[in-house]
Point group: C2
């Protein structure tokens, strides 16, 4: 067998400790699959004396991550520190020093991916990051390779386990948001500061990565329209139930075809993260608890779904090691896998141009002509109504309107007009509706 392949692991927390554990537990299989044994050359951490889930020999531990990466004999660097710096500088240094890189760092990739992809191209090395989206679920490799002969038209993902757990509790136990969040925190599904998950920042980073790969274009987190779930109420969850739907936080990346000048067809990308009602018959509706799933629509393959654990040390480490095997094989053969490609160079349309549907609940005066007035407001903005349900309650009434597809701007303008109408006491809930055919 060949010379050992030297691997440096940067970070030894939830994910890093499982990477180190699996490198040992699976050593024989990894060697057989790569064609060379893997040697753990060093593990960089912040605190040498912190308790760890795995035993790391003292001589392998270092706080000098940059020194490890630049040692000159490292073949593959696994970056599982997270965050922007020093992760970015370490990855760039690794590539410059001839190493290939595997990372799980969605925040960095979504913020500054192109810098890293260019550095990998320049160095002629691999940069793989399956673990960055939906943890253990193989989704980037299928998008990048399995669907390379097809045309992906839409990706709908449940890519954040914390928010899926919370929404699932609100659906099944009737909990309010705060109560469900507390439960998620108690069970370790949500962090003490849940902002990144609950407000959709984590999902938006993943949406940017998915959109880039699916549409061969450069999409960063800043391009992603983002709304979290903190304003979803128990009432919204009930309304969804009444409609035979369920609320999920979706990361959505869609191809939008528009007629451009002179009949030329323009294809643009629409990327967004927001809570949405989906019908219970949709495959994503049955994704429970903290599980993740990504639903892909493409022209020839039709509808595909990929399901599994979206986080956790061991599942994420599984994805990291899958990449490590591929990268290591390539490294040994002096070749590279598929690099990033942004050849299609599609523009990202602003949220106002996204085509969606709205579910709107409106408290109105209970008098004649109300429905006509509301319908006129929708029509005035070019939004056609699919269904209206009217529910009398004491002296006022509630209208629940589900629209047909229209631009988000048209829908938002309709809701704004509704809020200003005399007969409208309150617009109590506005929620997008996804996953249904017109």
């Amino acid at each position: 067998m060949s010379n050992p392949l030297k691997v440096a692991v940067l970070g030894c927390g939830s994910v890093g400790s499982q990477v180190v554990r699996l490198l040992r537990a699976q050593a024989d299989d990894l060697a057989a699959r790569i064609g060379a044994p893997v040697e753990l050359a060093g593990v960089a951490v912040r605190r040498l004396d912190a308790p760890r889930e795995v035993d790391v020999p003292a001589e392998l531990l270092t706080t000098d991550a940059m020194g490890l990466v630049c040692r000159g004999d490292i073949d593959v660097v696994v970056e599982v520190i997270g965050g922007i710096e020093p992760a970015r500088s370490l990855i760039l240094a690794a590539l410059e020093n001839g190493a290939s890189v595997v990372t799980a760092n969605k925040a960095l990739l979504a913020e500054d991916g192109p810098t890293l992809y260019e550095a990998a191209d320049k160095a002629g090395r691999d940069l793989y990051y399956e673990a960055a989206v939906a943890g253990a679920i193989p989704i980037l490799r299928p998008l990048r390779e399995s669907l390379a002969g097809d045309k992906v038209t839409r990706v709908l993902g449940i890519v954040n386990g914390t928010t899926n757990f919370i929404l699932d509790r609100m659906d099944t136990a009737g909990s309010g948001f705060d109560e469900a969040l507390e439960e998620a925190q108690a069970l370790g599904y949500a962090e003490a500061d849940p902002t990144a998950d609950v407000e959709g920042f984590d999902a938006a980073a993943k949406a940017a990565i998915l959109a880039s790969l699916a549409f061969h274009s450069r999409v960063t987190a800043a391009d992603v329209h983002r709304e979290g779930i903190s304003e979803v109420t128990a009432g919204d969850a009930r309304s969804a139930r009444d409609m035979g739907s369920v609320i999920k936080l979706l990361a959505i990346a869609e191809l939008r075809t528009t007629e451009g000048e002179g009949g030329h067809r323009d294809e643009a990308v629409c990327v967004r993260v927001h809570p949405a009602m989906i019908p219970r018959s949709h495959p994503l509706a049955s994704v429970r608890e903290a599980y993740n799933a990504v639903f892909v629509e493409s022209e020839a393959a039709g509808q595909l779904m990929f399901y599994g654990p979206g986080a956790g040390g061991a599942p994420t480490a599984s994805a990291v090691l899958g990449d490590l095997v591929t990268v290591a094989r390539n490294h040994r053969q002096g070749t590279r896998g598929v690099g990033e490609s942004a050849y299609a160079d599609r523009t990202v349309v602003p949220m106002g141009e996204a085509r969606t549907r709205y579910h709107v609940a409106i408290d109105v005066d209970d008098r004649a002509g109300v429905l006509a007035a509301v319908a006129t407001a929708f029509a005035g903005h070019g939004v056609s109504i699919q269904t209206v349900r009217q529910e009398g309650r004491d002296d006022d009434a509630q209208l629940v309107v589900v629209s047909h597809e229209a631009t988000d701007a048209q829908l938002a303008a309709t809701v704004e007009e509704l809020r200003g109408m005399d007969i409208v006491r309150d617009v109590t809930s506005v929620m997008r509706v996804e996953g249904t055919e017109e």
Copy 2:
């Protein structure tokens, strides 16, 4: 851009015609992704004048498939003829002539895969076959690459759309097998001669391919224990419902760990295709109509599921073209993708040693001591009972027993003993139970 890549397509039926169509429709994207344009160099068929779903220029059509493959300038051969011969000879000739090969031919791979894999190794060329299992669903690439750093312990697949459609109708409409089969035939989901699907031959071929990849061992169709669904009755479907379960035809590949000599742990493979009851809460239970899905359990990643259309011209062609892009890139770079590996060389255990659970329905005399006698029969073969349900009916009674896990041989012997007992009028149904924890 580089010289065009010459592709020969063998067969222009359901799949081949869609491959040819997509090669044209996606030409620009394929060229961008491969780094060179794809040139359709020839299409081999049996009948030059047959009506086709796609226009093929007359000068590209040929009945001399071997001549096309051996022309000397073909870079990639796509084999979508099917069957053993001439497909095998054509693939071998293609590899010998320096072409890489993409095929959808599960029958050939399951019968004689090793011959092909060795030929590909010898030629230093790629042999890819994602489309051979579960059509458009990316499952082989994830197993082979994404999970390469993990240890797969079990694969449970719904890999035949025809039988899933039939069982789904039996479940939801209460149809009998014959009625459901006729409906499947009327809708084009089943062929006039449905044997290959209904008797599990098609699923067994796929099970062999999945087991080989998941366990890095050589498994052929002959190693797969196979039972079809033609004996599943409307009563079985009802019993499953009563238990909160549903019957699916499963392709199962499991790793079996046994204590070998001197405490050494032996790992063997168990591969089988049979109808089984699975709980409705299992992710596979909600796979409806002719859809396919593959559920994978691995040590680090946990439970993953891959879902989508398992057949059809366009979906299957999507998988073929995904492989084509990978193979074409490798071909241009003078490298190869991951070849087959059978390094683990695990043995396949006979069905009698498989560990399963049984659901047994028994018509018995309605008299005292019957339950005790039946329980004794189970215990006598070392099978412990999980639940018994007793239903009185006129002067006889029915017992429904669900066992704990035992070897298939123990369970089969128990059923045989039951059949011979005086108090037992008939064993009306025997069905394995899968997808539950002990």
